[in-house]
Amino acid sequence: MRSKGVMSGAVGLRTDCERLLQLFTETNSVRYEQFSALWRQTNFSLIHYGRKEARQQREFIEGAFQIVLNFLLPPYSFQVRVGALYLLYGLYYTQLNKPKVKIRMTLKTWCELVVFHQEVTEQQHLDVDFVFRTLRMDKAFLFTATPTQLIFGKKEKLPDDEDRENDQLKEQQSILPQVLGESLEQLQDIHEKYHNMKCELGGGGRPDPSLEVVKTGIAESIAEKIHKYEEWRKSTKGRTRGRKRPASEDESTMDEGLVESRKRASRIAQIKGKSYGTFAKVPRSIRYMQQETTTSDEDEEWLPSTSRKKGKGKKKIIQARTKKTPPRCKSPTQKIREETRRLIASAIQPTASSSEEVPPKKKPTPKKRPTPKKGKKKTKPKIKVKIEAEKRGKREAKKKDGRKRQKTSESHGEGTSSMSDSPKKAPRKSPKSTGRKARKKRA
């Protein structure tokens, strides 16, 4: 909640002000005409809009003055300070509040402003002088002891910080490509070497078809999948995820050498081990359903291929386990993770069946699925659709035409209900079927 509260303030204004002042400094003049032209060009007056109530506008404009006052103070060049003064003038007079919200000015800031004003008068910048005098004589300033009102315990973020935080929001990037970038390259190299060796074995330009067990272009397909995931992440709210990660981000960007990359690999392995090693607490009520953990199955996927080839009995056990465990709801991240894992696994452990990558839909799915929760979820939309269909039917029944139309509409309604159901079933099937495939491949 708190972060949202922050969002309601003058977020982003700093960037806008910086841009405007940047443009102003590029003109190499301190004339008001230049500034007002830029103001109009950027439609800066519109900045006040988007706030319904006066109190929200007040909150915004107070934050805005805070931001602009920063630019008025000495570390900035004379031109920026003039621009900031104009900006203050513009914001003060274009604000939508009636009566106008005053500019809070501490005595310290005021002293510096007076010095600045003297400088201006000495250099005979009449327009700057005029603007300052107008603000001053129009009682635009409120002389205060502190820059903002203070309340104990309520830590008010300076608008500055808000913006910076926001910048992070904007530039927020997934570290997936950074993490996987080099390893993907390595994978590509290894794959090429492997391909060349196969070619040498075959003697000809192309490897023997019996050796074609690995999908060509694994690295590309992984990259593509990551790219897809990126797009998905951008389209949805992936903020929290992005925030949790940056610790490993700078770590991964620092290094160049081989040794360090190895270190990183081990670190990543550690992180992975942690994330896969811990499983969520299961409520006591359904704990009996998870007698054997699901992760054991996944872990075995990662085991070296030699250990898995042994015996068919093990496979059966695995299958039995997976049947028992309730299917988990899978987020896109999980799916992608699984798929990449599967791909890598298939690369490591070449099997004959890997050529049939596209999942055929006809594969039979086990009927028993102990999922009380999912069942509920599934039934809901059905009812909705039916109701809608009924409504539609009634509506159409009213349209004078008697039974024929009603009948058709009913049939139509049923059709839609079944239609709408099918896609909801589909995603449930898919992870299972893919899992099955993976298992088959192992065999």
Partner: protein
């Protein structure tokens, strides 16, 4: 208290009069002049040392018209986020509004505070009641009393009861009289035997003692003869606990003006009355008097914000505000239970005799403070 973690939320100690003196020193008289003057070209010309023609030219160059943007429209709805600009602020605002936040909760100010802000702007008082020039204005937030264990309810927010604007040269007693608290208005005593003749004697008429505790000084309200020094116990405790490590001092509330205070803005202080009704008070703001402030001295301390109370309804008719509260009532489902005057008498009495066993106390609802101001 979490002083270390939130050290930025209050200022260092400020002497109010010292601030005023500094302001008078650094600012021009015209800056502190409490009336607006019309912006004339002549004054500009005199101040800037240029001819009136140049001033007029400057006026045209720097006029408000120059700030009018092509996309700006007179009939534009302020609530709508305009499109077609490259302003980052608007883009973010749009994204924020699209996430459907509870805007009303997230705003720093309440509707009332905005309305009150300039409600008295046009008040024209007689000259003797004009606010003295060059005076400081303080904004004081008074919070609801909280007897809850703060350690247990750490996350709970203190609720603002009222917020006042006081003048620097006013006395602390002025603020003390202005603060309204339901504890001052309660009628003490049990009246189940004679509900018809409840005396209209409020707690504030009997128990008039109070104190402010600001920066280790107790400011006691000893204006009346029967007032007691409520701070006595605390001071004795302090003396016993930290022997020789300094002690709290006392002063009379009516002798002290806000100008004399050394305060930390944003820092919690205490207002205690009725024995143990303890309000946290915070000096939120210290500034110089502005031309747009209320100029009538008599209206200060000016209430600028207050909490909207929910009234306690009668449990029987659910229409009227409760006037009675009963404990251990055989006829009620709960204890305490609230009744309006009519329902209470109709339910509990027949020919002025009690029908059941209960304790009844007159109840004064917090809703009495909801009477619209302005």
């Amino acid at each position: 208290m979490e002083v270390a973690s939130s050290s930025e939320t209050f200022s260092p100690q400020v002497h109010v009069q010292g601030f005023v003196d500094e302001a008078v020193k650094t600012l021009d008289v015209s800056d502190l002049y409490s009336k607006r003057d019309i912006l004339k070209s002549v004054t500009y010309a005199a101040a800037m040392g240029v001819s009136i023609e140049t001033v007029d030219e400057l006026k045209s160059v720097c006029s408000m018209e120059t700030l009018k943007c092509p996309l700006e429209d007179v009939h534009r709805d302020a609530a709508e986020v305009p499109t077609g600009t490259e302003l980052v602020t608007l883009g973010l605002r749009k994204r924020y509004l699209d996430s459907k936040p509870n805007i009303n909760k997230n705003c720093k100010f309440t509707v009332l505070s905005w309305n009150q802000e300039h409600a008295y702007q046009d008040v024209k008082p007689p000259p003797e009641r004009e606010v003295k020039p060059q005076s400081a204005v303080l904004q004081v937030a008074v919070f609801h009393p909280s007897k809850k264990n703060r350690q247990k309810h750490k996350g709970k927010r203190m609720r603002l009861a009222q917020e006042y604007r006081v003048l620097g040269y006013q006395k602390l007693t002025d603020l003390r009289d202005a603060i309204t608290c339901i504890a001052d208005h309660t009628i003490a005593g049990e009246y189940s035997e004679r509900p018809c003749n409840v005396p209209d004697i409020r707690a504030k008429d009997i128990y008039k003692s109070a104190y402010f505790f600001i920066e280790n000084v107790f400011y006691n309200d000893l204006r009346y003869e029967d007032n007691r020094d409520l701070s006595k116990n605390v001071r004795e405790w302090k003396q016993n606990k930290h022997e020789g490590k300094g002690s709290y001092t006392t002063q009379n509330m009516e002798d002290v003006k806000f100008n004399d205070l050394h305060i930390r803005l944003g820092y919690p202080y205490l207002y205690c009355h009725q024995g143990d009704c303890e309000h946290m008070i915070i000096f939120k703001d210290l500034r110089m008097f502005h031309a747009d402030d209320c100029r009538d001295e008599g209206l200060y301390p000016l209430m600028v914000d207050r909490y909207r109370f929910r009234r306690q309804m009668c449990r029987v008719c659910a229409t009227f505000t409760a006037k009675w509260v009963t404990y251990d009532d055989q006829l009620a489902e709960e204890s305490p239970c609230f009744f309006c005057d009519i329902c209470f008498k109709a339910l509990h009495y027949k020919d002025q005799t009690k029908l059941a066993d209960f304790e009844a106390y007159p109840y004064v609802d917090m809703g009495i403070f909801n009477i619209a101001i302005v």
